[in-house]
Symmetry: C2
Subunit: 180 residues, 2 copies
Amino acid sequence: MSLRHAMLGLLADKPASGYDLMKLFETSLANVWPANQSQVYGELARLAGSGLVEVSAEGPRGRKEYALTDQGLTELRHWLTEVEPARNRRSDAVLRVFFLGVLTPVEAAAYLAREEARAAQQLATLKGLEASIDWDDDPLSVNGRLALEFGLRFSAMYGEWARWATEQIQPGAPAPETGS
Amino acid sequence: MSLRHAMLGLLADKPASGYDLMKLFETSLANVWPANQSQVYGELARLAGSGLVEVSAEGPRGRKEYALTDQGLTELRHWLTEVEPARNRRSDAVLRVFFLGVLTPVEAAAYLAREEARAAQQLATLKGLEASIDWDDDPLSVNGRLALEFGLRFSAMYGEWARWATEQIQPGAPAPETGS
DNA sequence: GTTGACATGTAATTGGTTACATGATTAG
DNA sequence: CTAATCATGTAACCAATTACATGTCAAC
């Protein structure tokens, strides 16, 4: 149940409404744990029901601002220190590699070349993100940088692997152009 | 719907029963697309219903062996060449990094050190796998090696990142021991 | 006054996990 | 004869996605 803890984690920084949390998911957690509007509102209600968060203020348009309770902070710390992270092992893109044998070598190489291009594109996007964010020194921002670095390293690794794999299935063939 | 295509992919190599597929998921696809018994039998029935696979033989204990149909192969090839892979972006372990600010620096460093150790352990497991498998030259085996290489590179990258991140949050501290 | 952002909620569906339930065949 | 493996299925539940539904407030 990472969604629940992601929300507690965001609220640990400062109180927020469901709408605020939604925006935070979009802008900072999108690459590690996407969540949508339905999920956020639903979980927020459940969290309030179990006393991990509470309504700390009400505003215009029915806005309800939630704050982490002591119990919520305890639960968050417990999760971070005692609960073994779930290993999210699924990867559609790597799964496909197992089955490249049903394609012609040219088609298989094209698949890997597209993945390499995708990785390069993702790397560029993340570098853009890194440059555009105003990295202040609140904890979420500091640690967000660590997570972003993971994304940068992952994209680089993935691109290199895809290039290597292309070479493996087309021994001796010249490396294909990766631009458009 | 990667499960469906993973099953078609396995059946493209050779006909198999639900039980066989289950074992194949455990032994070869577990690290990229785990699936359990309920899922396999349910999907197999649906696949047969839509004509992508068919019962090719029956055996003892109610065993039903399924084979890929022409339609199934077409669908598999379509998926591999035309359908953009889903990007599976969720990572519980990296999500947690955003929230390390609620822990003491020592606790946060301990989290990252445990992740580094986990990566090292995973790397060792995969190297063991690589050594133990008899890599014949059927397509599933050849391409399985490419996927395994991805796992090796991922584990190495993840361990290095975790070590780097530990250093970031404890500037100047000596690198912790990672062995047992 | 109308458009866009703010703001909250519910319903239906899909995909995955866990647990339940049963039985046949083979090897020792 | 008995334990392990082979073999198939169903039911309940949980998490996530998509779509539906509604209404307020501020800026132009």
